[in-house]
Symmetry: C2
């Protein structure tokens, strides 16, 4: 394996996605990608006593299903989520009872996890690594903004936290033919935005920074990808990113080849404001919809740049700005990068 | 590199600790290890407007000092802390402006970071990786228990969160002669303890699980180590761990060769109850005191098993039990394991 440029790992023997699993909630069940989910719950409680426990259940479901589909157990588990101290992931790891790496990169967690899993598999530190991430609308709104029960009016720039989890098994020797040829690790980028109801604008510069780094360091062009995916910038953030890619990197990307997981997951009439968000959004869309599209040959090569807004309720109260980070993973049909 | 058993990586070409830095606060300046710190602040504010910002400053100081001592810049930064959404680390990464992996493993973060850094260096994914972790008494007490200003009476089982940060550079080619021959990644272990004023008891089983795995998988005995270090079990947790190591693993460890960072950092009359704790405790003691002792030849081989209590104020309110995790890193003078 090789570090190309400053941020990109190119794997000499690209690890594979051996399986993927996507679990969602009731709003996702009405959404545009409902057929890409393996299981959809009809209410936010998922049979549990709290929304936090419900999120844990979603992540456990995704993890166990990814193991089942791969047909083999993982050596390690890597996961994260948005709850304080990533408790949904910690308690999922407790259930799985295998060595565990806890991560935090907000909604960019899935791609941080996938990057580390690919590194472990490529370097023979593990035969198989399970990755997962999750989010839950009610646990996130309660933590970061106001509990939904308060009925606070939303700003039009808001995004709706997705109730979902995604998991995948990374390893060699499967028959799915979906490979990870390269990954690009992001830097923290902060443009001084302080509005927690407009995270898309706060994260867009980080996404642009990472996509430009990936294209530059792998010596590729936007046209080499069937789809460049962001997760989750929403309407406003995605528009900013498209403009900045042109301005900063001189990359013109066809809007039809530039997809945002948060915009794709819901129908326009679903009252999701600027689109979906949350660590579970890019996780479930990547390990459901995107994975399926590559497996079936609809797409040959996709770059997924997940983005996280780095802040807490406390840093907002202390008037600190919202920083962003984005990690990107290339997924490709067939083993040659 | 090789996965030995189920949890241990043995590095074919052990990466080195090229530098270490430890920064502390006023209580640490009065403590038993004050001479092992590079810089000690005389108040909890560290010149900042909030305790959270003060913690960030400690971590930044440690990071920059570790870079300065190594004399070379890192390719990647890996860090974590106890604040919600690990904001001290995120904002330190913003200042450093290099690709960043955010972690969360509570007080076990330092050893999770060191393990991943060693993997990256050994597999040539990076030339040098900077790791850091931090904690701050006032930001942690405010988040997890009660603000200190309330003057709540402490339970005798409590530990005092250490105001400190530690950082280290991992790579090849330095002259410090301190190597990382192997690391053991922990599982989440939960014995059903629910008392957040007695975290030592909650974490001890995880520490025992990981130390036993390390000894078993590296085919070594406690006598092979000059010191087996825990961080941070405190008085009660350490006693439980010593008993459990005998009972569960049939390992008899000399109490004089079994050190807890939280017990070592303060003098007995410093009112620290069961001892120090916090992600910054094991970080600053490892990259200060322990690192110095190995460099100077006082110790040849040390196993540091850091432990994290996995819970949040919310999971406590919801009556969920406190799970524990422990990651262990072997540090050795000279390159042959």
């Amino acid at each position: 394996m090789q570090l190309k440029g400053k941020q990109t790992w190119v794997f000499d023997q690209p690890p594979m996605l051996l399986s993927g699993a996507a679990i969602g909630g009731p709003e996702e069940a009405k959404g545009a990608l409902k057929n890409s989910f393996d299981l959809l719950y009809d209410n936010q409680w998922v049979g549990k006593e709290s929304f936090e426990k419900a999120e844990q259940k979603l992540q456990e479901d995704a993890a166990y299903l990814a193991i089942k589909k791969a047909g083999k157990k993982p050596d390690f588990f890597i996961a994260g989520d948005l709850q304080n101290q990533i408790v949904a992931s910690n308690y999922t790891a407790r259930t799985l009872d295998i060595p565990f790496f806890g991560l935090f990169a907000a909604c960019a967690t899935t791609m941080e996890a996938l990057s580390l899993a690919a590194l472990m598999v490529n370097s023979r530190a593990a035969s198989r690594v399970l990755v997962a991430a999750s989010s839950h609308m009610n646990s996130a709104e309660k933590e970061f903004r106001y509990p939904n029960e308060y009925g606070i009016q939303k700003a039009p720039t808001c995004q709706r936290t997705v109730t979902a989890a995604g998991a995948a098994m990374v390893g060699y020797g499967g028959d799915t033919d979906v490979f990870i040829p390269s990954v690009t690790i992001g830097r923290v980028v902060d443009m001084g935005i302080t509005d927690p109801t407009d995270l898309g604008s706060a994260m867009a510069p980080a996404v642009v920074d990472t996509i430009c780094a990936h294209l530059r360091e792998t010596k590729s062009k936007p046209e080499d990808y069937d789809m460049i995916v962001t997760g989750d910038l929403g309407q406003i953030g995605q528009r900013i990113a498209l403009d900045m890619l042109k301005e900063k990197g001189n990359y013109t990307i066809e809007p039809s080849k530039f997809m945002d997981c948060g915009l794709k997951i819901y129908h326009a009439d679903q009252d999701a404001f600027c689109g979906g968000s949350g660590a579970g959004c890019v996780a479930s869309v990547t390990f459901g919809y995107i994975y399926n599209n590559i497996r079936s040959g609809i797409w040959q090569k996709v770059l997924v740049a997940a983005s996280g807004a780095l802040f807490s309720p406390l840093t907002y109260q202390q008037k600190e700005s919202i920083a962003g980070i984005s990690h990107a993973v290339c997924l490709q049909k067939g083993g040659n990068a």
